[in-house]
């Protein structure tokens, strides 16, 4: 059976993908421009034998998702910037207790209530640093309705594989964009099965295998489990030992590095001889793609590097794409966020320039092309 083409809005595609990926629990608090995800899940989950709960707020929503996942279900919530802020403490809790779950953040103009119906990319650093302390972070940034479908499925796969929360970041434009999507047949949807403990005695809930990921106790299998946000030993019980804390934290953070090849995902366009490299993600990458195509037609050596996985940031892939660049431009719908990471990776040369837009309007191909031409003249 091959994929069938169907017209979907981004948020609808997200809900369908979640159900296809085996998500059977959704708890959320509707917020523009993510509300259609909750709406579609409220129809789809009961039909699929799952559970939909509209919670009293976003703190409770992510808490319910964590509980459902600990109980053995694939679980998800969806929100926008203000709700994502409320969820941060519990996202850290899920990272610390190693509970797989998926958080969809449809970005809108901010800060605070901001511009609810307007697009933005202002949560990129919130996705990375929004929760206190050091924690493993995985965030994916689809650029089309098709990619919302595939990346939502990948988010569930990575969450299960790594036992960690995974964030999918996109914006109002693609959330409410109608595009043709190829829906793969069910047998083509691959999501890793949860790594369950085998029922043997002496079970240590946070003792990891070589892959850095501990097996999880399935409720009812008779394992003794203690789950806490306190820094804990392999036993799951709190520790004050510096040696144990260091070992457990390094394992927690290190599991991302162990699986980097399977997490990172990037796309390049015309980078092999690019003099000006544009680094863009989400809807802005599609404006950049058009700008690069038009610039190439006019003889300007422009290229595009698009991180699909924004966290962990794909450092080596960026360095490869920037090999021939004499300048780097980072357009984003914020005052300059991912540009800081690009500057950190690239270092002193070539120069890395931000191009920010914070007026609630999407970035246009024209303004990106103009900025590239300017850089090409002086590079």
């Amino acid at each position: 059976m091959t994929a069938r083409l169907t017209a979907l809005h981004g948020n609808h595609a997200c809900a369908l993908a979640a159900v296809a990926a085996g998500c059977r629990f959704f708890a959320g608090y509707p917020i523009t421009p993510s509300s259609e995800i909750a709406e579609h899940m409220s129809h789809a989950l009961p039909r699929a034998g799952g559970v939909f709960v509209q919670m009293e707020d976003e703190i409770a929503s992510i808490a319910a998702v964590i509980g459902a996942s600990l109980g053995g279900m694939r679980a998800m919530t969806a929100t926008s910037g203000p709700g994502f802020s409320l969820m941060q403490e519990n996202i850290g809790y899920a990272a610390m207790t190693e509970v797989p779950c998926v958080v969809i953040d449809v970005m809108r103009g901010g800060p605070s209530t901001g511009m609810p119906t307007r697009p933005a990319q202002g949560d990129v650093m919130q996705a990375r640093f929004g929760s206190h302390g050091d924690r493993p972070v995985v965030a994916l940034a689809p650029a089309s309705v098709q990619e919302i479908y595939t990346e939502t499925i990948r988010a569930f796969d990575l969450a299960e594989r790594l036992r960690t929360p995974v964030t999918v970041l996109y914006d109002q434009v693609i959330a409410q964009l109608l595009e043709s999507v190829a829906i793969p047949p069910p047998e083509a949807v691959k999501v890793a099965a949860r790594k369950w403990a085998n029922g043997a005695g002496g079970f240590q809930p946070y003792a990891a295998d070589d892959d850095g990921v501990p097996a999880m106790a399935r409720p009812g299998d008779g394992h003794r489990v203690h789950t806490t946000g306190l820094t804990h030993a392999e036993s799951g019980f709190p520790t004050q030992s510096p040696a144990v804390a260091d070992r457990m934290m390094r394992r927690l953070l290190g599991k991302i590095d162990l699986h980097l090849a399977g997490i990172e995902k990037t796309e390049t366009l015309a980078t092999e001889d690019a003099e000006v490299l544009v680094v863009a993600y989400g809807i802005t990458a599609r404006a950049a793609r058009r700008a690069v195509t038009e610039l190439r037609r006019d003889g300007v050596k422009a290229g595009l590097f698009r991180p699909v996985t924004v966290w962990p940031f794909p450092e080596r892939a960026l360095l490869r794409a920037a090999e021939t660049a004499r300048a780097v431009l980072v357009p984003e719908m914020n005052a300059g966020q991912l540009v800081l990471e690009v500057q950190r990776v690239i270092g002193r040369a070539p120069p890395v320039r931000p191009l920010g837009r914070i007026d609630g309007e999407p970035m246009t191909p024209g303004e990106i092309a103009a900025a590239v031409r300017e850089l090409a003249r002086h590079a």
Binding site: V173, I174, L177, R286, T293
Partner: protein
């Protein structure tokens, strides 16, 4: 996992269409119907929407970009077609109109210098005469299809049947026919 394209391909031919006006006029539904009408004829498009946080009023537009390249920029950059149902919709979109664009507006709207492809039609009046002021979007779609020939009237009718509630199908189809007959003499 890295996907690479060696060189930028030239963008496929694009046609950029905007329905503009105020919230509550059915502009987003209108664009969705246009998207579906194109799909009926096997053509591809992206349909986007922009609105303000009020359910009635406030500048609203919904855009359809007709392109075979699904990775292309899905938003408008210069309008080949503007369909405006009120003054705010026209005024806020005027800066994007291409020189040779097809501009279709309600007769109540004051526009810039009239080019050869500017059409001021009694869209709202025809909607009221057909049965409801709320079907001006369908009248406009019918007139647009007659003027542009972008898709056949049958594809438009099929899309209306697919995208609107059954109990309003007859009214919506009558409105689209009213728009077609309004504009057909002008298209010749």
């Amino acid at each position: 996992m890295t996907r690479s394209t060696p060189q930028g391909r030239p963008a496929a031919d694009r046609l950029e269409i905007r329905l503009a006006g105020s919230g509550g006029q059915g502009l987003i539904l209108g664009a969705r119907i246009l998207f579906e009408a194109l799909a009926v004829e096997g053509r591809r498009a992206s349909q986007s929407q922009s609105y303000e946080p009020t359910s009635r009023g406030g500048f609203c537009h919904s855009d359809v970009v007709v392109t075979e390249d699904l990775s292309d920029f899905p938003l408008v950059t210069g309008l080949d077609v503007l369909i405006a149902l009120d003054q705010v919709g026209y005024d806020r979109s005027a800066g994007l109109i291409k020189p040779d664009a097809l501009v279709l507006v309600d007769e109540s709207i004051a526009t810039g210098p009239a080019g050869g492809r500017l059409h001021r039609l009694p869209i709202a009046a025809r909607a009221v005469a057909t049965g409801s002021p709320r079907i001006a979007n369908m009248v406009a779609l019918g007139a647009f299809v007659a003027l542009s020939g972008l898709c056949g009237p049958e594809a438009l009718a099929e899309a209306i049947r697919r995208e609107t509630p059954e109990k309003f199908a007859d009214l919506n189809l009558a409105a689209a026919r009213a728009g077609l007959s309004l504009a057909e003499p002008l298209a010749a």
